[in-house]
């Protein structure tokens, strides 16, 4: 059951990614990306990361993709924008290099995946305490400083976005 779900979601993600690359209309590209994000969220659930799966749906598929869709509709882009391609000779080398990159990663993976020492958070323990509770506890103890710096980062990003998009 778990294996079938993995293969179905992996197939959905890869096929959607191929369509995302070759789709001419940016709005459809965004919808394909949403499909990839949702299938990755299901994979997170399979890996026992419920909190990350929920955040993936809410923040990525919800907030960030709506932002993308909003900008595409605001700019009123059409498919003909893409027709004038000054570097069309780049397409074939790009795909060949993609295959080379994939096989390089494959060779590295075939040699050995370095698995370090096992941590203390086994599936049974995480199930007992709760995934979200554990993440919350770690965020406010061990990772308190990065967590606070993250809030400053978001603050600066919000200010930057407002200043950049402001009409002069």
């Amino acid at each position: 059951m778990e294996a079938y779900l993995f293969y179905i979601m992996a197939a959905v993600a890869v096929v959607s990614a191929v369509y995302l690359i070759f789709e001419k209309n940016p709005v459809y590209s965004i919808l394909y990306l949403v499909m990839i994000l949702i299938s990755i969220a299901v994979l997170y659930l399979l890996l026992g990361a419920q909190f990350i799966a929920a955040v993936q749906i809410i923040v990525y598929a919800g907030a960030i993709m709506v932002l993308f869709l909003f900008v595409v509709m605001l700019l009123n882009l059409s498919a003909k924008e893409e027709l004038k391609d000054a570097l069309s000779f780049q397409k074939i080398p790009a795909i060949v290099m993609g295959i080379v990159l994939l096989s390089a990663i494959g060779i590295i993976l075939r040699s050995k995946i370095p698995l370090g020492k096992q941590g203390e958070y086994t599936s049974a323990y995480v199930h007992d305490v709760g995934n979200t509770q554990l993440i919350g506890k770690l965020l406010f103890t061990k990772y308190l400083l990065p967590f606070e710096i993250t809030s400053i980062l978001l603050f600066i990003a919000a200010i930057g976005a407002i200043i950049l998009a402001k009409r002069k």
């Binding site: 990350i52 960030i64 993308f68 795909i95 096992q118 958070y121 990003a157």
Partner: protein, 100 residues
């Protein structure tokens, strides 16, 4: 039985598709979406390793990556809107004012 290798191979395929997308597309927004795809591929490998190593650090790191991705999306799309106002295009071949 699904092992960590399955997840890493899927992550590698998605990352490579993202790289190819960045190289062959000319629409700045689609290039940006391919970068998001690459970020997600790496996040997937983080969570897979965290699960198989019985660790929580991978999931925490994914949390921070998502925050950075949200900030990056906001600033990047603002830059694209600003460039579109000035040049009336999002084709990255036409946006070469920094090219010497």
């Amino acid at each position: 039985m699904i092992t960590v290798t399955h997840y890493i191979v899927l992550s590698a395929i998605l990352f490579t598709l993202g790289v190819v997308g960045v190289l062959i597309r000319r629409n700045a927004i689609v290039v940006f979406m391919c970068i998001e795809l690459m970020l997600n591929a790496v996040n997937l490998s983080f969570v897979a390793f965290a699960h198989y190593l019985h660790s929580m650090n991978g999931q925490l790191f994914v949390f921070f990556t998502m925050t950075v991705a949200a900030a990056e999306a906001a600033v990047g799309l603002a830059i694209i809107v600003a460039v579109f106002r000035n040049k009336e295009t999002v084709n990255i071949d036409d946006i070469n004012i920094m090219k010497w």
